[in-house]
Amino acid sequence: MEILLFEVGGSRYGADAAQVLRVDQLPSGIRSSAGLGPTRAGDRALVFQTSNGATNELQVDLVHGVRTIPVAQLRQLPPGLSPQGFAIGVWLDGNAPVLLVDLPQMVKQIGGQ
């Protein structure tokens, strides 16, 4: 699996790289949060397509790039810990779990930018 790794508010997250159209640079001074908490620097945005074909973007602090992850390193979340439905699992990066999110689902549940 190819995962795009990014950072929001000091925490790392991952999304299916196939969902991301591009990474834009944002003008400085714009700060917002979209369900993953407030950004710190927030000068990058992941641009992706929602289920109805529209494009949306998620403001992030850092983009770490695309990693190819073995399926054996993926895990489901413990039961009941994804009430909003957009946190779809975890990548075990050594001892540090990285939350995997579904970008269109996140926008659908709690709104985007």
Binding site: S11, G35, L77, P78, P83, Q84, A87, A96, V98, I110
Partner: protein, 171 residues
């Protein structure tokens, strides 16, 4: 012939053994969190480990601090203080987790310090005061046996873990 000391001792021995009267007691895993001391039934504790990297989960109750990885599994990490409405745990370098289990559900619980296993006679366990906060429904009793005679709050860990799972889903 004079009897030997051993023969005399045997002659004075009772006909049947006297069974020592056992005092019913229960074993608890005790820990400190914030200004409070807690105990949970030891059969509900799997192990104690250092707190590794915690990944926060968005849009979950505040008492769910996040998830951690342990032996290839992903476990929720809970804050007892937040759950009971008695403050907030601070996770730092000295934080330890103990793995609590009820049925097949395992969760990590943060502690500031592990006190260890303690056995308390059942007669020493006091009932939870009536009319207390909502937290009292998750306490099975109180023991005045802390390191300085403080109260140790005995948690009904099974009930608490089921409630955390229910509250996480219903959010």
């Amino acid at each position: 012939m004079d009897s030997t000391p051993l023969q005399r001792a045997i002659q004075s021995a009772p006909d049947r053994g006297v069974v020592a009267k056992t005092i019913p007691e229960h074993e608890y895993f005790c820990f400190r969190l914030g200004d409070l001391q807690f105990g949970v039934p030891s059969e509900h504790v799997l192990e104690v480990l250092r707190a590794g990297p915690l990944t926060p989960l968005p849009k979950t109750p505040s008492f769910i601090l996040g998830v951690c990885a342990h032996r290839g599994d992903v476990l929720p990490v809970l804050d007892v203080l937040r759950f009971l409405g008695k403050g907030e745990a601070r996770v730092g370098a000295r934080t330890r987790l103990f793995l609590g289990i009820t049925g097949s559900y395992v969760a990590g619980m943060v502690t500031d310090a592990v006190i260890g296993l303690r056995r308390f006679p059942l007669a020493q366990i006091l009932p939870v005061p009536l009319g207390g906060s909502n937290a009292s429904e998750y306490l099975s009793g109180v023991v005045n046996a802390g390191t300085r005679g403080e109260a140790i709050l005995l948690l009904n860990l099974s009930k608490m873990l089921h409630a955390t799972r229910r509250r996480a889903v219903n959010r």
